[in-house]
Symmetry: D2
Subunit: 328 residues, 4 copies
């Protein structure tokens, strides 16, 4: 295990140097969209028992993730408990991840806030600390008013001002609304909007999003390992999968089988991932994800309140969902 001092050193590389390097690589890519295809874990944020950010544990996780063939990491997707972080914490976590992670791995940072102005500012800050792209969730508090008009306006404002490419993010289980398809199609034409992470799981919608944005170099990512293979079958090019925090190699293997067209093998693997995936997402949520991470050699750590630890009976259920599929 690493000492605290060593961890601090890992994060010590000057940010300004770092950002300069990053800008050069970005300019090299001018003229074409950022390729976001591949698998990303939306990383969990470990907290201490006192609910403080545990950067040490985070760093150890990053060391392990660096060895898995992920395309990159999503920092502060829903599984990162971003609504429970302060603005400063959100930026700091992304900054540290970028400094720690090998340069060839993408960092996609969740920068969504409820207001457009806050999202614009957070997006700039995330880019400022090295995010390669931002993931922007649909605002949702005034859900009755978050129609195509409002959401198109919101994402356009954010994309217009963002220094880095924008990925749209629709996650109805948390927000209570889906980014409407007509908004997706319009926004896909924006030069700075490169894709969509769709966590709703409506495979018809995912296929349609691919179909309706053909020729626009718009990339659709499955928002869960539960429908990853099906999403690939209809044209998605990657996935942001909570389960990849736990079974990262397996999710990458599923990607590989899909990309290589080895559908029979893919299917066998996909099947075994459905229940573990459901357990750490819709059934038992982030606290279960963090528990499972512990079982598989990662640091989950505590959740911030009001999220509560899973109960003993939930823990048993969680274990069953992994063991009955041969993972434990």
């Amino acid at each position: 295990m690493l000492g605290v001092g060593a961890v601090k050193n890992m994060f010590a590389l000057s940010r300004s140097v770092y950002v300069t390097l990053w800008k050069r690589s970005a300019s090299q890519a001018a003229g074409q969209r950022l390729d976001i295809s591949g698998i990303y874990p939306p990383i969990a944020t470990p907290f201490t028992k006192q609910e403080e950010l545990d950067y040490h544990k985070l760093e150890e996780n990053l060391q392990k993730y660096a060895k898995i063939p992920f395309k990159g990491l999503v920092v502060q997707g829903s599984n990162g408990e971003y609504p429970y972080l302060t603005e400063e914490e959100r930026v700091e976590v992304v900054s540290r991840v970028r400094l720690s992670l090998p340069r060839d791995k993408l960092v996609i940072a969740g920068s969504g806030c409820e207001s457009t102005r806050a999202t614009v500012r957070m997006t700039e800050r995330m880019a400022g600390v090295g995010a390669d792209a931002v993931l922007v969730v649909t605002p949702c508090f005034y859900k009755g008013k978050m129609d195509s008009r409002a959401l198109t306006h919101h994402f356009t404002q954010v994309a217009d001002s963002s220094p880095v490419p924008v990925v749209l993010y629709s996650v109805p289980a948390n927000t209570g609304l889906e980014l409407p398809m007509d908004a997706v199609c319009r926004l896909a034409q924006h030069p700075n909007i490169v894709g969509l992470k769709d966590s709703g799981g409506d495979i018809t919608r995912i296929g349609l999003a691919v179909h309706k944005t053909r020729g626009l170099d718009f990339q659709v990512l499955a928002g869960s390992a539960g429908f990853l293979m099906a999403a690939y079958s209809v044209g998605a090019v990657g996935g942001v999968c909570a389960l990849a925090n736990v079974l990262g190699r397996q999710v990458c293997e599923l990607e590989r089988l899909c990309v290589e067209g080895r559908w029979e093998e893919a299917r066998e693997l996909q099947w075994r991932l459905i229940e573990p995936n459901a357990a750490v997402t819709r059934k038992l949520g982030v606290p279960a994800l963090k528990q499972a991470m512990e079982w598989f050699g990662f640091h989950g750590g505590a959740c911030r309140s009001p999220l509560q630890p899973i109960t003993e009976s939930e823990s048993q259920q969680l274990r069953r969902d992994f063991s009955s599929n041969g993972w434990l």
Copy 2:
């Protein structure tokens, strides 16, 4: 076009002779489950302007469907307006379809009613007029009480007494409830329950249903052309697709591509079917399905009230959903 007399003759084959033939073929199959893999249109029921059953138009549709490589027909799925038929009409329609359809095509008859006893009786009558299998929808009026316990009891009672194999049917858009996965798994063990038609479209659930029933010879059918390819990718073996009433050959072609593992081609075709499919199902419903049938050379006919004809603007939208995908 056929005269009324000719149509009557088509239905003239003695039912008792017919049923005897059928029973023999059934007994030959003893020891193995009925193979229901393949594509089925859940046929629409044409009515006259006075809302009477139009058997003449039905027969002409059947003649055309007989030439398409369907595995069979579903008679009185949701698209057949079965809740608007009397008990006698329900049986009569199935009887006529069976008599008209070539013997090598399966007739799967919707026999679901709200009460178990009515479903048992309707199932017997459907078998009595030659249905090869029955499709039994979840009862739904007392949805708060239709939990796993109640539904397992219901389907078990029906399957115990049914002379023909039973296919479970979950269609939450109409019923407001999904057949719970634990009930599916338990019911899959019943020797007379051969499969599930899942119209909910949750592809994770479809994959899980296949996975959890492996070794039980339990067959999962996609309940819509919108997610047909994705369903095949995770192990479904067929589809009951409203759109097959209109674009039957194309849906069968999609099946063939999936079965042969030609996923690239399948994807291209699947994409073009999503919008027409949505238009005739969740967006505009049965009245739109019937309108589209008219455009493609079939008889849709009127709907029974309270279903209303689509409006002029809906008709234009419907046309666009077909034409923008190259079908009109």
Copy 3:
């Protein structure tokens, strides 16, 4: 207890004589709408263990109900398990109730079916056996298409042809849809539509329905004892309350207190009815209603399958909801 023979005699009065008497009283009322204000239990339908209709038990319940100051009975509301009765049974039950019940009590018969034509016919049959009015539920299977246009058409057709006044019935917990307010307002103008039973419990909607139909002699009934007092406060004139099957006198007492403007006393009583009411409706449903009836001296009897008897733990919960409010 009555012998079977006695019960049969109770129903022996000739129907044709009866209907003649009824028509006369109806014609006397020509020129003004039927007054439906007051309290009605939507009576449960007792079945034997073999799930056959138990007319004997029904009759004994009716004898008891006749002594409670109900305005009348609703026969085949949702609590009557009407979707589980055959057409013949539905008519027969109404017929027997009408023959048994004192003439000064109204019989409002549920005549709703999914299709307009079936509802028209059932309405005629219900009137033919003496129903004073019919309660017509919104059709709901094709819920995506049951918009204002379709529902207005449906209810208008039914009311046009009905020999007796029509009461609209909105019960979203079962049907998954609410009768839209604009349809309510339009339908309230129909001379043969006298009121609305609203079981949704949105008190704002109930107040608005009263407000928007002022001057039309349109009567709004609360569909549950849980919000009966609140409904009176905003202008409802009665209630169809499942709980009145069990605590009929108390529900009538609540009505009296509201009508007399004794709101303080009403509130005390209302409070004590909320939990028992919830227990026999949305929490535990018809099987709990029938169980509670047994405790209070009525015959609940069995439910028809797929409704299942309540479990032991549900029974304890049910008992608690009555006892903690001082009723057991």
Copy 4:
């Protein structure tokens, strides 16, 4: 109209002096719960066209509200666009309102955040600038995990540490979840939790909350003018009503009629408030509320993006909902 200088002076009273005064008045009340009965507008937050806080307009609104017999103001309820304010802005607005408002009017400040720790801190800050009580909304992002256990823990932590009394806040239209009744009952026993603002509108639930917390001096406020009278009828003691931003005197008049038991007059007034209320809440939302405020002599100002101004046709609809009830 006031000049900018005058407005600044209004806010000039030293905060520390103010807070000292406040603490004394609070200590005088030791031993009994804060009386929160009465009517509160959840005030809108006026923005300039550049979406900056417009304190001048806010102050002018406050001058007008001070003359209406409100019990106080709710600052940063849902209608205050609080999710669109920064932490600093949230505190500053409350501070200014407290300094401007006559001392005998209560300031209830919305201090809810997603995490418990942020809510605790915001609560302290709100108290620090003079809030008489805080209104704490249910956290909602991880709605699947926000069960009774989590929410009880959250509110208990907040109430334990809050310098001022806490009012629970359930607003399912925005949050997608209701504070469960068992959590309400448990939390009502906390000495520092004085009431519940329930915006869900389930009148049965409101009655039950009153009933189940009798003897605990727990006060229930209706969260909307649409069901204010009904809420009074079942025991609520006040209301936090968006419509009071526009028709404040009328909402207070409705309160008075209810409190005095003049139910007939109350009903007439209640009816005329339902449609205007729905228009500025669930139908057209905050942008419509702000538009209507302009018509009635208050400053609505712009909304922050992504909230969009209402369209011309929505504006006409809004106007109709007021004019058809005699308010315009």
